[in-house]
Amino acid sequence: MIEVRWHGRGGQGVVTSSELLAQAALKEGKYVYHAPEFGPERRGAPVRAFTRIDDEEIEQHFGIYEPDIVVVIDPTLQSETSYILQGLKKGGVLVLNAKKPHKLLVEEAKEINAEIWYVDAYSIAMEIFGRPFYNTPMLGALVKARELVKLESIFEAVKDRFAARGEEIVENNIKAIKQAYSEVKKYEY
């Protein structure tokens, strides 16, 4: 079983990304559980979402405390190191939306032997959408870091989700995911 935790801010599509990942895994016949974290948060506040993916039926409904992967959608959250790394398994994976990883985060991630992957999803989003929709590209980065699902499955999930909003939206999202997939880099300590 793989457990993923998503970090971002309200309004950035944290929940959507987690859901798209779950939907993509579902398309591959896997079992999934996707749970947004809900408080009274409004746009701008830090929010999280959780995804469980397994080949077997997922019965447990408790929270995810020791994720295998943490994806940070918001570039400004990087400095909240203890919040981001909380519970991340030793040797786990950290996927960041960043031009380069924050120094402090790198130091702490190294302590738990975490792999760091980073991509400038902000620039990708601005280039393709002209707006900071950097949640979907992060799916591309995640899939490159760990092939939890096939990229094609992500595209299918994106199509289902955005079809009603027009072909352009679908295509731009796919384009952004592909670009992030190819641009994401593994950080060498």
Partner: protein
């Protein structure tokens, strides 16, 4: 639960799964007020109606009290009716819950289980479900999103059965199920239509045959009416099981009033409702691999309480921990504990019992908590002594 199925597998959160079932049930009237965490249900239904995917009247009422009051009127008029609420909304409906049942309406309600105020909280407790326990509504508890969908469809069929004619509540844990996405199998519309033909109402409001619904009823006949209602309500159990079986034939998923794991040889057991059942089973499976004789009993049907089945699965166990996601002030136990205790009261053999209060207001029930409960149950089994009748888990202390 078997996963051999008909239909498509899709990913939906619990609320959307319920709304999808309601759409497939081709309801006539939806009367509901938004309240977290069930709001997605009514939003989804409003969307279906406004997009022409569901030919129903959506009554956007001004309160939950009106939501249920209008639902009562619509159901008596002969319509298939759905409503949904949570927590304070259920509390506001409270007096009408009794009326809806007494007037033998066939309303189906989804209850996104949420804690009562104060303090205001939007997350899961079973306060609302328990508040409705005596009102004459059939109550189901869904363990996951699939069950929320399946039970909603079955609830319509059960409530509208001419041998039943009682309203139903489908409980789904707030956020844990309402807002969480899981994969589920959904039936084809045609199969749902076969399983759930249009409502054939009994005694509907009909100007050709004028009847008086809900008259004043004093000491002359009130108690006879209650006696009748009690008998009819208790008689619904075999019919519920019959519908469960029919659904099994249709969908390949078998529902039973009581769901068990490891109870063939369990020495200690946990009894639990809702989404926690899976979490407890997850831990129990791991413990059993290590040879510990632990079991899980979860109730899909909370009202009417399947007493005989409870006796059957629990009477030979040494210790039972009954988990309540709610608290009853001044009572020797929270509602499920009282129920299980009462169910076992005349059993020839009966286990020692203790009550676990957990998860209030959405506090997560972790594997560690579950482990601690099993540990305690085994200690009691060894010592034969219950030192504390009630314990709290997951609370700073």
């Amino acid at each position: 639960m078997s996963t051999i199925v008909k239909g498509r597998r899709i990913g939906l959160n619990g609320d959307r799964a319920v709304a999808y079932a309601v759409k497939q049930a081709d309801v006539d009237v939806i009367s509901a007020y938004p309240i977290t965490p069930q709001t997605i249900i009514v939003e989804a239904l409003a969307e279906y109606v406004n997009n022409g995917e569901l030919n129903a009247a959506f009554i956007p009422v001004e309160s939950e009290h009106t939501a249920l009051s209008a639902a009562v009127g619509a159901s008596l008029a002969g319509a298939r009716v759905f409503t949904a609420t949570a927590s304070q909304g259920l509390a506001l409906m409270y007096e009408i819950l009794w009326i809806a049942a007494g007037l033998r309406t066939t309303i189906v309600m989804a209850l996104g289980n949420r804690a009562f105020s104060p303090n205001i909280n939007i997350h899961c407790s079973h306060d609302d479900a328990y508040a409705a326990r005596d009102t004459g509504w059939i109550q189901f508890f869904a363990e996951n999103v699939q069950e929320a969908y399946d039970l909603t469809l079955q609830a319509f069929r059960i409530s509208e059965d001419k041998r039943v004619l009682f309203p139903s509540i489908v409980n789904l844990d707030g956020f844990i199920l309402t807002h969480s996405l899981e994969g589920l199998y959904v039936l084809d519309d045609k199969d749902v239509k076969d399983f759930l033909p249009p409502k054939d109402p009994v005694n509907p409001i009909d100007p050709e045959s004028p009847k008086t619904y809900g008259p004043l009823d004093l000491y002359d006949w009130y108690i006879e009416h209650k006696r009748q209602q009690a008998e009819h309500f208790n008689n619904t159990l075999p019919i519920i099981e019959e519908v469960f079986n029919e659904y099994y034939e249709l969908a390949g998923r078998k529902y039973t009033p009581v769901k068990t794991y490891g109870m063939e040889d369990a020495e200690v057991a946990i009894v639990v409702l809702g989404s926690s059942a899976g979490s407890v089973r997850y831990v129990a499976k791991r413990l059993r691999r290590r040879g510990r004789k632990v079991g899980v009993v979860s109730l899909t049907l909370f009202r009417p309480l399947p007493v005989e089945e409870i006796i059957e699965v629990l009477s030979s166990v040494k210790v039972v921990a009954v988990m309540d996601r709610s608290y009853s002030f001044g009572s020797p136990g929270a509602p499920l504990f009282l129920d299980i205790n009462a169910a076992l009261s005349n059993a020839k053999e009966r286990p020692l019992l203790f009550n676990v209060i957990y998860g209030l207001g959405g506090r997560d029930l972790t594997p560690d908590h579950i482990l601690a409960i099993y540990d305690r149950a085994e200690d009691i089994a060894r010592s034969g002594e219950v030192k504390e009748r009630q314990i709290w888990v997951g609370v700073r202390g």
